[in-house]
């Protein structure tokens, strides 16, 4: 089945009682029981909710995993996944990790005894050198945020398998429409569903998918025990967003590609980061493992002052954190998505004071280009 079709027909997105074409929003906390010793499959809303389950089933099918789980935010999905590990365990994590994940790892989980080494995941030798006897998992983002660095996913997954480690990936930038890491050997996929999956900047949500049932049972136990679940209204909205995922991704990616090429030819722009742009060091690897470059383009202007002038002059994109919505969003990673990272760490990752990130929406390419053009003119 073509991905565009599968997105709309995952099997659990309609009401089994009435045939309603959309799953009802089960706004409830508890379920009436028949038998005190044989409780029904539905017991309490934190543990089970049909609307949330429809979403969990959908993301599991789309990612090609056994079980899916929905959480109150992407960070909640990641923190619940990290609870799979014990104090003393060691993780090798991509150096270009999302600022919120960095804060979670370097702040909270390091305090709980998890040990972390950040490495450049495009350098497999470095990854291998970082693995110790206590290492339990490799954690990847590809393309990374915000510099769109590409990691060879099949190579990382096979390294993990050879060393008996779990391979974890944050697939937020690509979505399962463009990239399916489980088919490349990954064990757990996490998402901020706030972004392209939800797609409308109108909710906060996170998802996790486990490749196999035993890992799924452990993640499900954590979800139920910690309780950072997604409510039924937001579950329904994510499901609704997913229905147009393919159409949105196709259109937004097409505009992003065109804008990336155009930006690369502009004198005000020092560097353009976009995975399928000719000259991008990870281009071939990316095209092998994903269907396109996605809808996020980052680019570097001369300095902080040029970035400020540019961001203030742009009229169409919203100046805001987040990405993946139908409206274009411009962000300034140094003070927004990566504010949690110390300055020297940030600069070492190429997140300079001149770097801006553009999440391309569904506006017309021409309107966006004209707006960026006038804003760049003020940044000279």
């Amino acid at each position: 089945m073509d991905d565009r079709t599968r997105i709309l027909h995952t099997g659990r997105d309609r009401d089994p009682h009435t045939g309603a074409s959309s799953i009802p929003i089960y706004q409830l906390s508890t379920y009436a029981q028949e038998d005190p010793f044989e409780l029904g499959a539905y017991e309490y809303g934190r543990g089970q909710n049909p609307t949330r389950e429809a979403l969990e089933h959908t993301i599991a099918v789309l990612e090609g995993g056994e079980e899916g789980f929905a959480f109150a935010s992407g960070v909640a999905a990641i923190s619940s996944t990290l609870l799979l590990f014990q104090p003393g365990d060691h993780l090798v994590v991509t150096r270009d990790v999302y600022g919120g994940t960095y804060r979670l790892l370097a702040g909270l989980f390091r305090r709980w005894g998890l040990r972390i080494t950040f490495v450049d995941m495009s350098d497999l030798g470095a990854v291998e050198a970082a693995i110790t006897t206590d290492t339990r998992a490799l954690y990847v983002e590809s393309p990374s945020n915000p510099t769109l660095k590409v990691t060879d996913l099949a190579a990382v997954a096979s390294l993990a398998k050879a060393r008996g480690l779990l391979a974890l990936i944050d697939n937020t930038f690509m979505t399962p429409y463009l990239q399916r890491p489980i088919a490349l050997g990954f064990d757990v996929v996490v998402h901020s569903a706030t972004k392209f999956l939800g797609g409308h900047s109108d909710l906060i949500a996170g998802l996790a998918v486990a490749r196999d049932g035993s890992l799924g049972r452990r993640l499900g136990g954590i979800q139920r025990a910690v309780g950072a679940i997604l409510g039924p209204q937001d579950s329904w909205l994510v499901l609704r967003g997913i229905k147009t995922l393919a159409a949105r991704m196709d259109a937004q990616q097409q505009t992003a590609e065109a804008l990336a090429l155009w930006l690369a030819g502009r004198p005000e722009v020092k560097t353009v980061y976009y995975p399928t742009l000719p000259g991008h060091p990870g281009r071939d690897v990316h095209l092998r493992q994903a269907k396109g470059g996605g809808a996020v383009v980052s680019f570097e202007l001369a300095d902080r002052d040029s970035a400020r002038r540019f961001l203030e002059a742009a009229r169409l994109p919203l100046l805001a954190v987040s990405l993946g919505g139908v409206e274009s969003i411009l962000s300034y990673p140094a003070t927004m998505s990566h504010a949690a990272m110390p300055r020297q760490e940030r600069l070492a990752r190429g997140i300079t004071d001149g770097l801006v990130r553009l999440s391309v929406g569904l506006e017309s390419e021409r309107d966006l280009r004209e707006d960026l053009e006038q804003a760049l003119a003020t940044a000279r």
């Binding site: 028949e34 409780l39 809303g45 960070v75 900047s201 309780g227 805001a320 919505g325």
Partner: protein, 307 residues
């Protein structure tokens, strides 16, 4: 200084003056992920809904006012709220906890936090001297449920928080009880305590309850949860099958009355031996009283107990 508003007033007007632009007297639902910045380096105070959302903030501020605290926080579940509080502790710390606690809290402490190096020590928090006896230097927080679930034991919050403060520890109270339906609860508790097939009835509003005086000094009511024991475990499934007004379901605090079988539902995660010792037996049932007419509730229990 103006005195603080009464609880009823705070409740009635939560969010009623938030929307300056339209004057809407109810709080708008801000169904948004992110907020536009007026300029680089400037913020409206709201940047991203995970960190702050106006609708959630009004709920959080209202809770803080109701509880007389400095700040409130809203979470996706009660356990997620508790999980966040437990992150205030560090590996090696101990937390002293009410022994007949909610099963979900027990699971969180034992399955998630014990492996992370937090040791929960369980005590009868309705006895201050026992709490004092269990205390050592590693205890950094005291987590109290009062009245407890499902046995409705009452802890002396004033005495316990003074004890914890003197030792530099946090006091956390799970305050998930409400007062609205307590008239129904008292009538049902009185009916049950006279019924020939009912043994112990746990409700702090009954004069015979050990914690009645303490609760009267620290709460404005007795709550809407009543637990009771029937004389024979075989009566439990029959009774649960016969109730018509009560819903047989897990949870509490709703407008509809619920009946729960704690040993198989809310407290199934506790070891059987622990359950028996605490009194969460295979004859114990828990009621959460709703707002139905009291006669219907009493009649329903009467006919169900005749099973």
């Amino acid at each position: 200084m103006r005195r603080a508003a009464h609880r009823d007033t705070i409740l009635a007007q939560a969010g009623s003056r938030w929307d300056e632009r339209t004057g809407s007297v109810t709080m708008p639902v801000y169904q948004t992920a992110t907020f536009r910045h007026p300029a680089l380096g400037r913020s409206t105070g709201f940047d991203y809904s995970r960190s702050g959302n106006p609708t959630r903030q009004v709920l959080e501020d209202t809770l803080a006012r109701l509880d007389g605290g400095a700040r409130g926080f809203a979470f996706s579940s009660g356990l997620a709220a508790l999980d966040c509080l437990l992150h205030l502790l560090a590996p090696g710390d101990r937390i002293l906890v009410t022994e007949d606690l909610y099963g979900g809290t027990f699971r969180l402490l034992e399955r998630v936090y014990r492996p992370l190096g937090i040791e929960a020590v369980y005590a009868d928090t309705s006895r201050v001297e026992e709490v004092e006896r269990c205390w050592d230097d590693r205890v950094k927080a005291l987590l109290v449920e009062t009245p407890t679930n499902p046995l409705l034991k009452v802890a002396d919050i004033r005495a316990l928080s003074a004890l914890a403060r003197a030792r530099g520890a946090l006091t956390i109270v799970d305050n998930t009880r409400l007062e609205r339906q307590e008239r129904n609860a008292l009538a049902v508790a009185e009916f049950l305590s006279r019924h020939p097939r009912v043994g112990r009835v746990h409700y702090p509003g009954l004069p015979s309850h050990r914690g009645a005086a303490t609760l009267r000094s620290q709460a404005s009511g007795f709550g809407a949860v009543v637990s009771f024991e029937v004389d024979d475990p075989a009566l439990v499934p029959a009774l649960l099958a016969r109730v018509r007004v009560f819903l047989f379901a897990e949870s509490l605090g709703g407008v509809e009355s619920l009946i729960t079988f704690p040993s198989a539902q809310t407290h199934a995660d506790l070891d059987e031996g622990v359950r028996e010792r605490l009194g969460i037996t295979d004859r114990l049932l828990r009621l959460s009283l709703g707002v139905e007419h009291v006669d219907d509730l009493v009649e329903d229990l009467d006919q169900a107990l005749a099973a």
